[in-house]
């Protein structure tokens, strides 16, 4: 084993010699570069498994996943099947909530051609821009991301020069890193701006999650790509853009009464400066429905 020159040791020594011994001696060399490289390798591996946004699949594929798993989950998926027909998976890279939201929203606008909704959201986007400016963000850090999102909005409305008419085209764009990541980053800016603007409202939720201050939380858990989202992010994005979001929870919790039910929570945007009126409004039915399994969001389609 020690004799690296020996022909016998070829196989074992290959791994050892691929790293110069001087590097092995110096741990300082295993620095940022190595960590970044490993991260991108993991990302590449994940990319092969799932696209940023997958194809629409019947709900039965979800059940198939748990065939030999928890009976509670299988029972819950059966209940889900009463209301929902299909699922669209997203890549589990920490951006799944934002990517699910992006696809669902653009798909909704493409199908509904709801110009009023687009105008409303555009006005909110302008508000977000002002928020970021007043928080001291330099314009050039966010303007490209804003521009790209507004471009996507225009393209799903028919009658514009750049219009796209096919759902396939949104799918292609959602899978194109140079568009998809920009839109995710746009949402991260919007989310961060909203949280910081209403830091008094969000502070108790954030201190419940971490020891961080609101600003630290935004810097470390909202603005970096790949940081996962939870109810704080969803509330903020829903409020900032004024778009209600339904999240259906699929986990192993069960109720004592014996029957299995699937919980959902509606994030209903705040009006004006009022806090998010989560779940209290029965009149608003969100057109975006996401399926939450601990640590991950996918898109759900109603029957």
């Amino acid at each position: 084993m020690r004799n690296q020159e020996g022909p016998q040791a070829d196989e074992e020594s290959e791994a050892a010699t691929s790293i110069p011994t001087s590097e092995l001696d110096d741990w300082a060399n295993f620095g940022d570069d190595d960590i970044m490289q490993q991260q991108s390798a993991i990302r590449a591996e994940e990319a092969v498994k799932t696209l940023f946004v997958g194809d629409k699949e019947p709900l039965s594929t979800l059940a198939a996943e748990y065939q030999s798993g928890s009976p509670i989950l299988l029972e819950k998926i059966k209940v889900l099947g009463e209301k929902y027909a299909a699922i669209r998976r997203t890549r589990g890279d920490g951006n799944c909530f934002f990517r699910s939201f992006m696809f669902s929203y653009l798909e909704h606008i493409l199908e509904s051609q709801d110009r009023e909704e687009v105008d409303r959201v555009k006005a909110n986007v302008e508000q977000c821009r002002k928020t970021l400016q007043s928080l001291g963000y330099a314009d050039f850090t966010f303007e490209d991301f804003f521009a790209l999102f507004l471009e996507q909005l225009d393209s799903v409305l028919q009658g514009n020069e750049t219009s796209i008419s096919q759902q396939d085209e949104i799918l292609l764009r959602s899978r194109d890193q140079s568009i998809s990541d920009y839109v995710v980053m746009f949402f991260r800016f919007v989310t961060s701006g909203e949280i910081r603007k209403r830091s008094e409202f969000f502070e108790p939720f954030i201190t419940g999650l971490t020891n961080a201050t609101v600003e630290q939380f935004c810097k470390s858990s909202v603005e970096p790509m790949g940081e996962e989202s939870d109810h704080v992010h969803i509330t903020a994005l829903s409020d900032a853009l004024g778009v209600p979001i339904r999240v259906v929870y699929l986990d192993r919790s069960s109720c004592d009464s014996g029957g299995v039910s699937v919980n959902h929570h509606d994030f209903v945007p705040a009006v004006g400066d009022l806090p998010n009126a989560s779940g209290s409004s029965e009149t608003v039915t969100p057109f975006i429905t996401l399926l939450y399994r601990p640590g991950h969001y996918d898109i759900l389609y109603q029957k």
């Binding site: 060399n29 940022d32 850090t141 970096p224």
Partner: protein, 194 residues
């Protein structure tokens, strides 16, 4: 593909408030992928008075991927390699965000000079010294600042060369100069007596 339009804007914005921040970023050549950053050593630290140069190279994915930064000026600090200048800082790794800029990253590096984190070291030797013998750490860091991060520090290389030409081994000359705080005459005295 690096977003060069954005890099261009960053450079403009950075030069606009150079007076206030003291932070400078300039391209190494025509290629905007390689830059040099300059930060003043924070006041009230052993780095005060020094000017530190940082090599910056932008990865293809910039601004989605963090800029690669490395001290070109030698510096004695627990989170910076005294050998290679590699920096241990979360925002240059997984905590990077496109919301940050070269300037804000350099400001964070400057803040790191003020607030070392010896429990998450890049240079174990320096970190050990920081934790066990803080006074020596301060002395060494100050000496390195004097020697490598000041305009007059060019003179040090000349001193080294001069003493080495007298026949003393270069490594010994350096360590002796370091021990006496850079004074050429004291160093010569010590070298002769040693």
């Amino acid at each position: 593909m690096i977003d060069f339009a954005r890099v261009q804007k960053e450079l403009q914005e950075c030069s606009r408030d150079i007076e206030a921040s003291g932070i400078r970023v300039s391209p190494k050549s025509d290629n905007l992928g390689c830059l040099i950053g300059t930060i003043p050593g924070p006041i009230g630290t052993p780095y005060e008075g020094g000017t530190f140069q940082i090599d910056i190279s932008l990865p293809d994915g910039y601004p989605f991927e963090p800029p690669k930064m490395q001290f070109a000026t030698k510096v004695w600090h627990p989170n910076i390699s005294s050998q290679s200048g590699a920096i241990c800082l979360d925002i240059l790794k997984d905590q990077w965000s496109p919301a940050l800029t070269l300037k804000t990253a350099l400001l964070s590096v400057q803040a790191l000079l003020s607030a070392p984190e010896p429990d998450d070291p890049q240079d174990a030797v320096v970190a050990q010294q920081y934790l066990r013998d803080y006074q020596t750490f301060i002395g060494t860091a100050r000496y390195w600042t004097e020697t490598f991060a000041k305009a007059s520090s060019l003179g040090v290389e000349e001193k080294v060369q001069k003493l080495a030409e007298m026949g003393f081994p270069e490594a010994l000359v350096r360590s002796t100069l370091e021990a006496v705080g850079g004074d050429e005459n004291l160093a010569l005295e010590k070298l002769c007596s040693g």
